[in-house]
């Protein structure tokens, strides 16, 4: 009985150990799941929208870095998650960063976020008014990868929907500045059609069996071929040479047309003098020579330099560790800096409707800027109305097709933009 009890106790301990391990693993699994959930962009519960704030078009005429609180509430990720928005433009991250909470993982670990709204569970059905970014037609900003200039003054990294300005400062630096995003409410629909066969009560009845092409089950290569070949060769054949077999004596290359090398050198002959083994093998007779060079290399220092003593005067001592005795700070004026704002004359547009866009660029820096170029790459659903652009001051306008099937509009100001000066560009686009 005692042995059985011992056995039971051993089994009980084993079960206890297994149970403890299972509990630990389940906890570990929860923690791991929690970490993986935290890697998802933070989901924020909708907040109360202030009265008077831009209500439903949160991305309209608002710079990405200047979203009001109402707008951030309107485009909360909880509303976006309902429709499967993958946050291509990083709105959720910006909102989370604005709230001082980079991610829910950071909130939960550090406890920095006092409000549970930022890190609460994901509501499956938000009570606020949701927004689907796919219903909006947005243009502006600079999506990653950011735009930059290459040697032939070509802008690289300007995706469809990006709108940037680049300029050259007094220091010669080329700077880029992205505009804000302008969004129009303009959903467009498509449809997928499928025609099936028999119908009963609108339940499509599919075929019971489909006739799949039946191929060969196998190939037997051992079977004899149907093609027979006579392998008996002729023992003797009298062949008479015909006229066309007569050899042409004029055939061939004349000797004088053969180009011969002027100088023929044997390259390998030079290499034959090299002995690779002799370079890598240290002979005993060379050790003394090597040690001598080693000592010379180590002992040759500055303090061993030649010193001259004249009438018992010591030579001046060279001090290499010098400290800073004075610091002069020169205050240069800041370089020129541009701000760019893009606006539209309406916040919603039906298909086929024309929308007027305006891009306003102003030098808010402390020095002039030159070679100002404004580039706007249109999304595929915006079609530039030919001849509708105008700029003040004058600018050179050119278009180029972009990868989305629309156009890239570019204006290059003819004159430098001085401090405080601004340029306004207007153009019209048709929503398609």
């Amino acid at each position: 009985m005692q042995r059985q009890i011992q056995f039971l106790s051993t089994r009980t301990r084993g079960v206890t150990v297994v149970f403890a391990v299972a509990v630990a693993c389940s906890i570990m699994g929860c923690q791991t799941t929690g970490i993986s959930d935290a890697s998802v962009p933070p989901i924020a519960a909708p907040t109360t929208q202030p009265a008077g704030a831009p209500a439903m078009n949160p991305m309209n005429n608002v710079a990405p870095t200047m979203l009001p609180s109402g707008a951030s509430a309107a485009i909360s990720d909880s509303s976006v998650s309902q429709v499967g928005f993958t946050d291509r433009v990083g709105i959720g991250e910006r909102i989370a960063a604005r709230r001082g909470c980079g991610a829910c993982a950071g909130c939960q670990q550090s406890g920095a976020c006092q409000s549970e709204m930022n890190c609460g569970p994901v509501p499956m059905m938000p009570m606020g008014r949701p927004v689907d970014p796919q219903e909006f037609l947005c243009n502006g900003g600079d999506q990653a990868p950011e735009a930059y200039l290459i040697t032939d003054d070509t802008i690289v990294g300007l995706q469809a929907q990006d709108a940037v300005v680049h300029y050259t400062t007094d220091d010669g630096d080329i700077e880029f500045q992205a505009s804000n995003r302008v969004c129009l409410y303009s959903p467009r629909f498509g449809s997928v059609r499928q025609v099936s066969g028999a119908v009963a009560g609108e339940k499509a009845i599919g075929p019971m069996n489909t006739a799949q092409p039946v191929g060969l089950e196998g190939l037997n290569f051992d079977l004899p071929s149907l093609i027979t070949k006579d392998i008996d060769e002729l023992g003797h054949a009298n062949v008479t040479r015909r006229l066309d077999a007569v050899r042409d004596r004029n055939r061939g290359i004349p000797v004088e047309q053969v180009v011969e090398p002027i100088i023929a050198e044997d390259v390998m002959q030079i290499l034959a003098t090299l002995d690779a083994l002799s370079l890598t093998r240290l002979d005993d007779s060379q050790i003394a020579l090597l040690q001598r060079g080693n000592v010379a290399a180590r002992s040759w220092m500055i303090r061993d330099a030649v010193e001259v003593m004249i009438e018992s005067l010591l030579p001046p001592t060279l001090i290499r560790d010098q400290s800073v005795e004075a610091l002069v700070v020169y205050d240069f004026p800041d370089a020129g800096r541009l701000e760019i704002v893009k606006v539209a004359d309406k916040d919603h547009a039906a298909l086929g409707e024309e929308v007027q866009f305006a891009i306003h660029v102003r030098n808010v820096g402390d020095s002039d800027v030159r070679e100002v170029q404004i580039a706007d790459s249109l999304v595929p659903r915006l079609e530039y109305v030919e001849g509708s652009e105008k700029s003040d001051p004058s600018a050179t306008f050119e278009t180029r097709s972009n990868e989305a099937g629309s156009l890239r509009l570019m204006w290059t100001l003819d004159e430098p933009l001085k401090v405080g000066e601004s340029a306004t560009i207007e153009f019209r686009c048709k929503v398609r």
Partner: protein, 259 residues
């Protein structure tokens, strides 16, 4: 057990020297078993975080699924089904549409607009089909999503229900035409001029998944099925045929006054 048989012939008096070895062996076995379980559990936890397998079918819809059953799936997320989503019916020139009202139909309108509930299945009537005098069709429309327009623009941007002449002819010939309307992704939209009343669908073969195809182009928002030519004569079958006559909201278009 076979290596260390219990000394049962000596009653319940255990032999201390013989009992030590089996207990140690059992302890070792228990430890090995516990380690084995740890490895299995860790493996389960690790493998449980693998990404979901990629399927070529839509998780909510299959072509053999009857109308209205999309929302019966537990994978379907809850949505605000209480709101009316405006839809607009477009067809070939001359065709008229009408919604059922207590078992009867109002006179057809060529540009019918109505507010439908998300998740419900509505059966409407198509009459005056060009090239088919007297023929009628009773297609169904099922909204599986809605729009989120700014306030005041709900009726300005209805979901277009486009039926082309080919669709109507296919349905009259006894085929089932399934159309999945999707909200186009503006990033990947085709740079073509489009209007709401035009019908330019993407045709897919019978074996393909219409919902999955629409899902790859945008957000599926409505399913239209054409095939029924006449309602049942029995009164008992009318309610199932019309899917219980779900409530819909009429949307009256502004009348144009000519002076």
């Amino acid at each position: 057990m076979e290596r260390h048989p219990l000394p049962t012939d000596q009653g319940e008096q255990p032999i201390a020297t013989a009992a030590v070895a089996p207990n140690q062996q059992r302890l070792k076995l228990a430890a090995i078993f516990a380690l084995w379980l740890i490895m299995i559990l860790i493996g389960c936890v690790c493998f449980a975080q693998d990404p979901l397998p990629i399927r070529n079918t839509h998780p909510l819809y299959h072509q053999t699924l009857p109308p209205g059953n999309v929302w019966q799936s537990p994978a379907a997320t809850a949505m605000n089904q209480g709101a009316f989503q405006p839809v607009a019916f477009y067809g070939p020139k001359g065709a008229t549409f009408s919604m059922p009202d207590n078992g009867s139909f109002a006179p057809g309108e060529p540009r019918l607009m109505a507010g439908l509930m998300v998740g419900a299945v509505y059966r409407f009537r198509v009459t005056n089909i060009p090239g088919a005098i007297g023929a009628e069709l009773y297609p169904t429309v099922e909204l599986i999503g809605r729009l989120y327009p700014p306030p005041g623009l709900e009726t300005s941007f209805p979901i277009p229900i486009n039926l082309s002449q080919t669709d109507l002819e296919n349905a009259l010939e006894g085929n089932l035409v399934t159309r999945v309307v999707y909200l186009e992704d503006p990033q990947s939209a085709t740079p073509m001029q489009k209007t709401n009343d035009e019908s330019r669908p993407i045709d897919i073969p019978f074996g393909a998944d219409a919902m999955a195809t629409a899902d790859s182009y945008g957000r599926p928002i409505a399913i239209i099925r054409l095939g029924s030519k006449a309602p049942p004569r029995q009164v008992e079958l009318q309610a199932p045929f019309y899917f219980g006559f779900p409530t819909w909201a009429p949307i009256f278009q502004p009348e144009t006054v000519s002076q």
